[in-house]
Amino acid sequence: MNHLLPLLVAFPLLGAGLLATAGRLLPRIAAETVGVVVSAGTAALALVLLLDSSPPLVEWVGGWSPKASKGGESVGIVLVGDGVGLGMAALVSVLTVAALAYSWRYFDEAPEGRAGTFPALVLLFQGGMCGFAIAGDLFNAFVFFELMSVVAYALTGHRVEEARAVQGALIFGVVNSLGAYAMLMGIGLLYARTGELSLTAIGRGLDAHGGPDALTLAAFVLVLTGLLVKAAAVPFHFWLPDAHAVAPTPVCMLLSGVMVELGVYGVWRVYGTVFSGPGGIPTAGLERALLVLGTLTAAGGAFLCWYQRHIKRMLAYSTVSHVGLFLVAIGTLTPEGDDGAALYVLGHAGVKAALFAVAGILLDRYGSVDEKELHGRARELRAPAVLFAVGGLALAGLPPFGTALGKAVSEEAAGGPFTVLYVLVSAVTAGAVLRVAARVFLGLGPRPEEAAQAETKGTGEEPETHGRLGRLPDTMVVVPAVLLAAALTAGAVPGFAGLVSDAVSEAGSGGAVVTTPRWTAAGVLLGLLSTALAAGLAALAVTRPHVTAPHAWTGPVRRLQSGHVGDYVAWLVAGAALVGALAWPAVLGG
């Protein structure tokens, strides 16, 4: 089975090549069919491999495996298909199928003879993300990281005639590329120390060298910077709202649903295989760094999420704050925390992609994603209204959604004050979603007034379809419904959490037997509490807008998001210094 691993990358790349070359001859329907078939085939392959991933599959591409005669060193490309890597690849592929199905005959007619461009780019994106998920050596992780990033910039700026789209794509490109180069510097330092590139071999090399020193710390900070930029942790997060607010809706589903989470996955993978040994960074260092950054990210993202009127931007900030919760969960460095994060990522992917899909319906029907402008205008859209509200409740952690189970397990692993963080953050972000649902789809409450502060409005957006939509295509409603159903299944089907937990513990803690995550009374009650809080916040915002409207003191915080690429780069450098400062004491003490 392990010989099939490279196909996870090769299939989508071949499909993309086919569409890019033959796309000018194909009619649009054929090009889109090829896109869906190839991505669905890859998804099926990922699922089949996933079922066979215990013990983990290891493939040295082209037979360049380490030879004992050469001292066990190898410069070959290694792919590792364990439960978590293949699980991420499967999640990527399934969500790609959903995004392509959602965009079925949906975009503006592409220019003559270029019907294959968009599906080709999406397939490239899928190939890059699958490659990153199963890369077993650090340099190829970097190459796939860059592949998915470059395709993501191109997809974000796909509508090149739009001022916001190109600005967002440019900011996204500069900040993420800089993060990737920082990561490459770190990889260079690790190679200098160990002469190895495969993850496990670097880990062994570091351990053989003795305790951590300045070089280990520098490499750790640089690699982590690249991954945290991708994960959009505060203060590396500024690119995310700018990019997600302007990207085409199917692309937003992929960016928020899996690409950002791959950054979190990368942190988990690299720490677990490279830096967790005695020659790496002591656990206290990573724990402090992730818990501090995760808390900042969760709280900051939720704060800014609440004050957005641009619906896609609001969802983007909600992704930022949930990434913070994932980082806190893996920052506990316990098997339970890893289980919680894995379940939370799965549930969140379905819910967030569904919410973006519904926001896309608003955009294509009304040419606006502005909460204030759309007040009461979407009363006619019954099914999308239900989907958006259900998505909001799932985001809040209403049992038995997968998000709720992930949240409950993570809460229990983190414990103490972090419980409050989890409840408040999910309540505030979901409250913002429910507020939008109540205002836009039901027309509740007084018409909101214009704010005095500078803010990004969602008015005057170009629909992505050919003119404004009259009748909704079935795919645009069915896809979010299926995604929400999948998120529900992830939490409600008994045994699913156990499978996830087994996969995570085999890949992470070496198969140590841990308790299977399950619903607990406390978890259910806290989930209901955050749902009730979210509903209460939404009700308060709708009935008493002046209480929850942005106050003057929020201005300076919101202005940090300046849309200026230089500011974001400065924040990136400051963030790297912060990561170093947080991990440093542990290295000194160790």
């Binding site: 410069v75 340099f139 190459v143 860059e146 470059v150 910039y153 191109a154 700026g157 090149v160 005639e161 739009e162 001022a163 916001r164 190109v166 600005q167 967002g168 794509a169 440019l170 900011i171 490109g173 500069v174 590329s177 800089l178 180069y181 920082a182 490459l184 510097m185 260079g188 330092l189 190679y191 200098a192 590139l197 709202p241 700018d242 607010a245 302007v246 004050y307 502060q453 500078a454 803010e455 990004t456 919101r558 202005r559 998001q561 300046s562 849309g563 200026h564 690429v565 230089g566 500011d567 780069v569 400065a570 990136l572 450098v573």
Partner: protein, 115 residues
């Protein structure tokens, strides 16, 4: 082997970051990003350097007859150059579109996407 090439790599990277943070023109910013990337070339090549080593091309030297520099980092650098060319080309294309749509290439004057 001295520490000097590593200091150069760090300096070039930070100089690129400084240029990016203070840039007044988007093409200049994309250039600064390439400067940051140049730092990775310096670092990788410095890592693979060996005193007295020659190029790892075995068509005209006997393998094992004399020291060669590490070919792995050179392969990495080449891959990195390819990646950098892609990124730079794409970003410059986006800059052209930004100038067309916003009428300016000064990041201080891009007024969208705030708050």
């Amino acid at each position: 082997m001295t520490v000097f090439p590593y200091l150069v790599a760090a300096y070039v990277f930070l100089a690129g970051c400084y240029g990016l943070a203070t840039s007044r023109h988007l093409i200049h910013a994309v250039g600064c990003l390439s400067v940051c990337q140049a730092a990775t070339y310096v670092l990788l090549l410095a890592v693979g350097y060996r005193d007295g080593g020659t190029a790892p091309v075995f068509s005209d030297i006997e393998p094992g007859s004399r020291p060669v520099v590490d070919p792995v980092v050179q392969a990495l650098t080449l891959t990195d150059v390819v990646v950098g060319a892609t990124v730079t080309a794409l970003l410059l294309a986006l800059v052209i579109q930004v100038v067309k749509r916003h009428g300016t290439a000064d990041p201080d004057e891009l007024r969208e996407l705030r708050g």
